[in-house]
């Protein structure tokens, strides 16, 4: 649980012209990958339909493959995937929102989960469906966070009963995600061409 120093330094320089530098990618044509987004490492990266990667978002397939499900958003400065030296795959299910500066090294993040600004999920952890990590919260290595959990206030957790019981609320959240993706599609210019070889 204890915060650890980030294992890698975030680099802001991107190669704009070399398609060969990236990992082997499978990118759905409906996904939006900003020009300044980074895909690094040598393990396979799968990006499903309607995914949005913001500028300076980083998919780090250095320690294992990264799979990003439909309608996921990865914001600026956020990192998904394990760094060099650690091994394991990372899977984001659909409708996962990774906010700015967050770092997701988790084995799996369930659908509809929101990872708040600068929140961290360390390697080997699993996060359930429709969870929410409020900004700067941390889920430690190997931890398991059950479905519908809200992690807030320095590690406090509660099960969001509203969302457990109400399908409406869940649907509202999913709909919100999809609307957000639609809006971002107009705002973020797509640069995925360079990652498809």
């Amino acid at each position: 649980m204890a915060a650890r120093p980030p294992t890698t330094k975030r680099t802001t320089t991107t190669s704009t012209s070399l398609p060969a530098a990236g990992p082997p990618c499978t990118i759905d044509p409906t996904a939006v990958i900003a020009d300044k987004a980074q895909l690094t490492g040598s393990h396979p990266v799968t990006i499903a339909e309607h995914v949005v990667l913001h500028p300076y978002a980083r998919i780090r397939a250095e320690g294992g493959s990264v799979t990003i499900g439909p309608y996921c958003i990865v914001s600026e400065g956020a990192v998904v995937g394990l760094p060099e030296g650690q091994q394991g795959d990372v899977v984001l299910e659909r409708w996962v929102n990774v906010e700015s500066g967050a770092e997701v090294l988790a084995k799996q993040v369930g659908e509809g989960t929101e990872v708040g600004i600068q929140a961290r999920i360390w390697e080997g952890a699993t996060v359930g469906r429709f969870c929410r990590l409020t900004p700067t919260e941390v889920v430690g290595a190997g931890e398991e966070v059950g479905d519908f959990t809200v992690v807030f206030g320095d590690g406090r957790r509660r099960v969001d009963k509203t969302i457990v019981e109400s399908e409406e609320v869940r649907n509202a959240r999913v709909k919100g995600m999809e609307k957000q993706v639609e809006a971002l599609r107009k705002l973020v210019p797509d640069g995925k061409a360079k990652w498809i070889s």
Binding site: G153, R156, R157, K161, T162, I163, E165, V169, N171, A172
Partner: protein, 566 residues
């Protein structure tokens, strides 16, 4: 001392041993005559020394006022969430809480928002869901996602939340059949509800008051009436004979609440089942589902709550705007504007604008001047300046005048600092004048010229070493002012730090020396007490050239110079 060297702390006269009587004629005091030298190493000194920015000033008494010698007075009450100003008469009846739509999350205490629940119209809703397209509203926490659905409450309108919430609560906690054989249990269940118990008690005691002829007709004034006061006083003794007799003549003393109907909840064996139930629940649900003490105390409605799903939203507590009055003359020193949206002050007399500020710097600084606020890296951490014992060092003491009159200053300091380590201190020029403060523009212009002055220690030294001439370098001279700008004057202070080790201890073994150092923590801090007396004249009726009235102000301050090397 937590402040970085060199610092200046100002002593408030209120905590001097001579008491507030002396403070009135502080102007006549000679520090070395009838007032003891301020000892910064005295354990009590820490309670009277403040940085200048923490101090206020009473212009009526012409004295510094610290947080201890002002009285707070509540100007008004307002809700921090809707900024509605609550009249003081309503504050009590509204339990110091906002009675409009402001609520805080019972789970994490951040403000709740009213949101509309969107009914799905695109077929995602389960078929057969009988509810029509009426809109429903919730209180929703944007931080931890708590909603009133957690306690099973929805609202039909986005307004009058308090009313709807109370209704929902009543529906939950009032048991339907009060005439059944379980009536006793119903009452005791109702008493768990804090508000209900309070209401019953309140009704009972009001009746008691009426019966016994006490004139108090409401809780608020129960102790206000002379009869009640007399009765209470008699309980604690210490009354005149007549009053005592009168109180004994009272035919019937007031009864206390005795049963559940009267609001007294007692433990009965039948409660045990309920306790068992609670224990069982705790066991199965675990710690995470149990309400914390903080959550249970968030609002009276939650006082009996054991589990998180029993927590009700807490109405936002009101905030106050407070003014500060001088304790001696009752004048307002700080008075904020009563409007709750405004952050302005009507009256704000702070010491910063009324007494000369003292600042100290070495005459020949070694290395660049460090400001701990600007230290970026840990390896450049701020280190306390170290003073070599028994070698004379010169410092520039600058006094800056914040008032619009020329001020005559006399400084006094004991020849040797009080405390275990005696350092010798000499002010080369103890009395001088400081020019008046002007407007900001003037000040900016004059200070920009003053920085070019060749007398700036480091710069002139550098110049001298470059040109190879010592020409233009000033020498500190007794009786002479070192530097003068429009509203500030600098003089030279000569300090010979005392030695930490008494001469006899030189032959001691290392551990013994350590011991003596340890028992005298912070004795190595060189602090110089200085008594500042300022005299000036003001125009009596605010017109120039008219009658002049002399004004005087005296105060102690303490200059923290650095640590003496061991």
């Amino acid at each position: 001392m937590a402040a970085p060297f060199p610092y200046t702390h100002y002593a408030c006269p209120c905590s001097s041993s001579s008491g507030p009587v002396i403070s009135k004629r502080a102007s006549q005091l000679e520090p070395d005559e009838d007032q003891e030298t301020f000892n910064p190493h005295d354990p009590r000194a820490a309670y009277s020394l403040y940085p200048l920015d923490h101090l206020l000033f009473c212009d009526e008494c012409s004295q510094i006022r610290c947080p201890k010698c002002v009285n707070d007075e509540i100007i008004n009450w307002f809700c921090p969430s809707c900024l509605f100003e609550v009249p003081s008469s309503a504050v009590r009846s509204e339990n110091n809480r906002c009675s409009r739509n402001c609520y805080n999350c019972p789970s994490c205490s951040s403000p709740l928002h009213v949101t509309q629940v969107e009914k799905q119209d695109d077929g995602m809703l389960k078929p057969g869901d009988g509810r029509t397209g009426d809109e429903a509203y919730l209180l929703f926490c944007q931080y931890c996602d708590w909603t009133t659905l957690d306690i099973g409450v929805q609202f039909s309108r986005p307004t009058k939340i308090t009313e709807q919430l109370n209704k929902a609560r009543k529906a939950r906690y009032t048991v339907q059949q009060p005439d059944s054989e379980d009536a006793d249990k119903t009452v005791s269940k109702q008493l768990r509800n804090h508000d209900d118990a309070f209401d019953r008690l309140s009704v009972f005691y009001t009746e008691q008051m009426d019966e016994t002829g006490e004139s108090g007709n409401s809780w608020g004034s129960a102790y206000g009436s002379p009869a009640n006061l007399a009765r209470i006083m008699s309980l604690y003794g210490g009354l005149t004979h007549g009053a005592l007799k009168k109180s004994r003549e009272k035919p019937q003393p007031m009864r206390e609440a005795a049963g559940e109907e009267e609001g007294l909840a007692t433990y009965s064996p039948s409660d045990q089942d309920m306790d068992e139930e609670t224990l069982q629940k705790m066991q199965t649900r675990g710690w995470d589902e149990t309400a914390s003490e903080e959550q249970a105390l968030s609002t009276p409605a939650n006082y009996g709550a054991r589990f998180k799903d029993e927590l009700w939203p807490a109405a936002t507590t009101l905030r106050t705007k407070r003014g500060k009055r001088c304790r001696t003359c009752r004048q307002f020193i700080i008075r904020p504007e009563p409007k709750s949206g405004s952050a302005r002050y009507r009256i704000r007399i702070i010491a910063h604008n009324n007494i000369p500020r003292l600042s100290l710097r070495p005459l020949h600084p070694i290395g660049p001047v460090q400001n701990p606020s600007f230290v970026m890296k840990s390896d450049h951490a701020y280190k306390d300046p170290i003073l070599q014992p028994l070698s004379a060092q010169q410092f520039v003491l600058t006094l800056r005048n914040p008032i619009f009159e020329t001020v005559k200053i006399s400084l006094a300091t004991p020849a040797t600092t009080p405390g275990r380590v005696a350092s010798r201190v000499t002010i080369l020029c103890p009395s001088f004048e400081i020019g008046p403060a002007g407007d900001v523009w003037d000040e900016a212009l004059s200070s920009s010229t003053s920085t070019i002055r060749p007398s700036d220690g480091g710069r002139s030294a550098a110049m001298a070493s470059l040109t190879g001439t010592a020409e233009g370098e000033k020498q500190p001279e007794a009786g002479k002012i070192w530097e003068k700008t429009r509203n500030s004057t600098s003089v030279i202070l000569e300090i010979v730090p005392g030695s930490l080790r008494p001469t006899s201890s030189i032959g001691l073994r290392d551990d013994e020396v350590k011991e003596t150092v340890e028992e005298a923590e912070d004795d190595d801090v060189l602090e110089i007490p200085i008594y500042v007396r300022a005299e000036w004249t003001v125009d009596v009726h605010g017109e120039k050239g008219g009658e002049k009235e002399p004004k005087e102000l005296g105060y102690w301050c303490v200059l923290g110079v650095g640590r003496i090397a061991a």
